[in-house]
């Protein structure tokens, strides 16, 4: 009697596993979806802020010289400015006319926006 119970239990286990394996082949959702977001190593504004903050901590903890700190900070600021430009581009409502002119315009707009934001805060 017990034998049969064990046999049944064993079969149940095998069937369960079989189900797990075979189910995907019969699932309705498309097989090739790729909800995966590609990881990219590109840098974000946040990481620039982080880097400068770390520098400032190092400077305040007297690990680096003031001169070096200010110099690096400026470089990072330039970098950040550039990044801001890039970041706003995809959102940009402007169609691509001429490249250089467009870039100039974009920059001015950016700056204006910055000023406004500043005023608000």
């Amino acid at each position: 009697m017990m034998e049969i119970v064990y046999l049944l239990a064993g079969s149940a286990i095998i069937l369960t596993c079989f189900y797990f394996i075979v189910a995907p082949f019969f699932s309705t959702n498309r097989g090739t979806d790729s909800g995966f977001e590609q990881w990219d190593g590109t840098l974000t504004l946040d990481s620039v802020y982080g880097a400068v903050n770390e520098l400032e901590m190092d400077y305040l903890m007297k690990k680096i010289k003031e001169k070096d700190f200010l110099q690096l900070k400026e470089q990072y600021q330039l970098l950040a400015a550039e990044l801001m430009k890039h970041e706003s581009k995809p959102k940009g409502k402007v169609n691509p006319a001429s490249h250089t002119e467009e870039a100039e315009l974009e920059l001015l707009r950016e700056l204006q926006k910055l000023r406004k934001q500043k005023g608000r805060i």
């Binding site: 064993g10 596993c17 699932s27 090739t32 995966f36 190593g41 840098l43 400032e56 690990k63 990072y76």
Partner: protein, 657 residues
């Protein structure tokens, strides 16, 4: 029962093999259905391995002696908790434990939010290879569900030495660490195959690696704690080959945890990081091979058998596979790193750290292997025991402590020697002052004093880091002290978690150095009323008692302690004679205070009034356990909050954008 148990094992083999093939087909055909099917396979593996584990636990718990494993490691009168933890007391069970952990890890991975990552099928294949191997080994070499020919009335019982909370935790934590290292390994190999050798795989596995490292740390410390309390020779680390085998991946994984920071920030050391994680993983297999092969004598050995050979073959296979993949991808790994600016930089300090850790690993490996090598080459066996390791590792570990004292003071960018010196001066003075104080106190032993002073130096550096960091933050943000401390650590949990770990190491170092250099020992035969003097202790022997408890005979000596002239209670070292275990076991009696342990072993007796006692005073041993706890807290702290910080921002800067 037998049927179900074996079904789970054979199913494990079949499903693992299938899932590997399904993954390969999925990759080749770019067909997600196959990959999902393989994922289902992993789920099934989790299912069958859990089933097998619960089954074994049930068999152990209900004392089904018709099963070999149950009969060999448990007995009827064993407390339930040890009946269950006999799960990992023997070969077959510990293989099953490894397998089930591996399956669970694989399951968590393939169903994680990264499941659509193109890396995942490769990661899955590597882990499945491991799983396949373990299931196969269980079936051919260590089946936990094997039956006995004649059902015994009672089992042989569990070795009394293993009946200890330490033994409940030690194997499982260590295995969690061992198995955990397979995950970053699988990612590294996967990334290599896919030719994506940027820091992605490191970021994805950061938590896994730290978790594995945490468990390795924990496993080793619990192992030491158990040895100290249970083995009765008064030490916690014997440089036994198997202990070394668990220390090796710890060293290389520690090196890895540090060197990945350079890759994340600078894109350097890609090959090196991959090699380190491969090495760490291979070393976990190597450790298992040592435990199971019996090539080296050790208290940990499960005895000889063909299992060791299987592990050796698997290890060789994995090693060749890794080497093949690394060499074929080598050209891709190189390039696009950001050069360092000066020799004096954070990068150099990390390189030194890696150098020392890997040298340490090499020294330990060499020492553990030398008996085999010398026997193979010259035909004569030569022992390499603790005195060797102590003298070789002491300078290496001292260098490591000095590095830990120095490195946190170096800034990531634009570090200058002059600034560094200014920062190092106070910790250095703290170290020197502590050395002077020790000498004035009459402490002997130049090496120990150097070691202790260096540790104080290292400790002071870290304290200064916290203090200065808080101050800097208060200056920058005008926060109050508490908020500044909180924010400081919260903002950079990875770094400050690491610092906490370092502080833990400092405390352990003090314990290790002090207990090695300043322990005292007396072996003395005393009659009732006589006393033993050792250190600040004065012990008076009050006679022997004998009681029976749970069918075991317990002989205990009653000793009164006077500590520094004050009554400090009594202590009862015991010998326990078990009903169903041949050898009596020695229960050490330990009286712990903050700075020293009184460690008493009842060695032998002639009659009720005359006993031989082994008495030790081990200074600062408690600090090792406290340090261990601090390390765990620090690691956990780095683990929960620490997100990878400021990645490669220097890159565009350097390249002039």
């Amino acid at each position: 029962m037998y049927l179900i148990g074996n079904i789970t094992l054979y199913l494990g083999i079949a499903i693992a093999a299938y899932a590997i093939i399904a993954n390969i087909i999925g990759i080749k055909k770019q067909n997600n259905k196959w990959i999902e099917s393989a994922r289902g396979g992993v789920l099934s593996l989790v299912f069958v391995s859990l089933l097998a584990s619960f089954l074994l636990l049930y068999l152990l718990g209900s004392s089904q002696f018709q099963f070999e494993y149950v009969a060999a490691y448990t007995s009827l009168n064993l407390p339930m908790v040890y009946k269950l933890t006999a799960f990992w007391a023997g070969n077959a069970g510990s293989l099953l434990l490894w397998t089930v952990l591996l399956c669970i890890y694989a399951g968590i991975l393939v169903y994680s939010k990264e499941k659509r990552n193109p890396l995942m099928p490769y990661v899955s294949i590597i882990l499945l290879l491991n799983i396949l191997f373990f299931f196969t080994v269980m079936v051919i070499g260590g089946n936990p569900f094997a039956m006995t020919e004649v059902v015994p009335a009672d089992g042989k019982g569990l070795n009394p030495m293993l009946q200890h909370p330490g033994m409940v935790l030690h194997p499982i934590t260590l295995y969690l660490g061992y198995v955990g290292l397979a995950v970053p390994f699988a990612f590294a190999i996967g990334a290599l195959i896919l030719k994506r050798v940027d820091a992605e795989w490191i970021k994805l596995t950061r938590r896994w690696t730290i978790t594995a490292w945490l468990f390795l740390t924990l496993g080793n410390i619990i192992g030491g704690w158990w040895a100290y309390l249970e083995l009765g020779w008064g030490g916690y680390w014997a440089w036994d080959p198997v202990e070394n085998a668990s220390f090796l991946p710890w060293l290389t994984a520690s090196a890895f945890l540090h060197s990945v920071m350079i890759q994340e920030r600078k894109g350097m050391l890609k090959t090196w990081n991959i090699s380190l994680i491969i090495l760490s993983y291979i070393l976990t297999l190597f450790g298992t091979f040592l435990v199971r092969s019996g090539v080296l004598t050790s208290v940990h050995a499960f005895g000889s058998g063909p299992l060791g050979t299987y592990f050796l073959i698997f290890m060789a296979f994995m090693m060749l596979l890794s080497i093949y993949i690394v060499t074929t991808r080598y050209q891709l790994i190189k390039k696009d790193s950001i050069p360092i600016e000066t020799y004096f930089s954070k990068e150099s300090s990390f390189l030194l750290n890696n150098l020392i850790l890997v040298t340490g690993a090499f020294a330990v490996f060499w020492g553990s292997m030398y008996p085999l090598i010398s026997e193979a080459v010259t035909g004569t066996k030569i022992n390499v025991g603790p005195p060797y390791f102590n003298s070789v590792m002491a300078p290496i570990l001292l260098l490591l402590i000095l590095l830990m004292a120095v490195c946190p003071l170096i800034a990531w960018q634009k570090a200058t020697v002059e600034r560094f010196m200014k920062n190092a001066i106070w910790p250095l003075i703290a170290g020197i002052v502590s050395a002077i104080i020790l000498i004035l106190m009459g402490v002997k032993g130049a090496f120990a004093i150097i070691g202790l002073a260096s540790t104080v130096f290292m400790f002071a550096t870290h304290v200064q880091e916290f203090v200065q960091g808080t101050r800097a933050r208060m200056k920058a943000t005008k926060e109050n002290v508490l908020k500044a401390v909180y924010k400081l650590t919260r903002k950079n949990q990875r770094r400050y978690g690491g610092y906490i770990v370092h502080i833990g190491i400092a405390i352990i170092a003090i314990g290790v150095i002090a207990s090695h250099a300043y322990s005292e020992e007396v072996l003395k035969t005393v009659e009732t009323g006589e006393n033993i003097k050792i250190g600040n202790y004065d012990l008076t022997f009050n006679g022997l008692t004998e009681v029976t408890k749970n069918g075991n005979g317990i002989v205990a000596a009653d000793l009164e302690i006077v500590y520094k002239g004050k009554d400090a209670g009594s202590i009862h070292p015991e010998k326990i004679f078990y009903a169903n275990w041949e050898e009596p076991s020695t229960e050490v009696a330990i009286k712990t205070n903050f700075t020293e342990d009184l460690y008493v072993v009842l060695s032998s007796w002639e009659n009720r009034d005359k006993v031989t006692l082994q008495v030790k005073v081990n200074p600062f041993v408690t600090w090792i356990w406290i340090g261990g706890i601090i390390m765990v807290i620090g690691t956990a702290f780095a683990l929960i909050g620490g997100k990878p910080t400021s990645t490669r921002v220097t890159d565009p800067l350097r390249q002039g954008r």
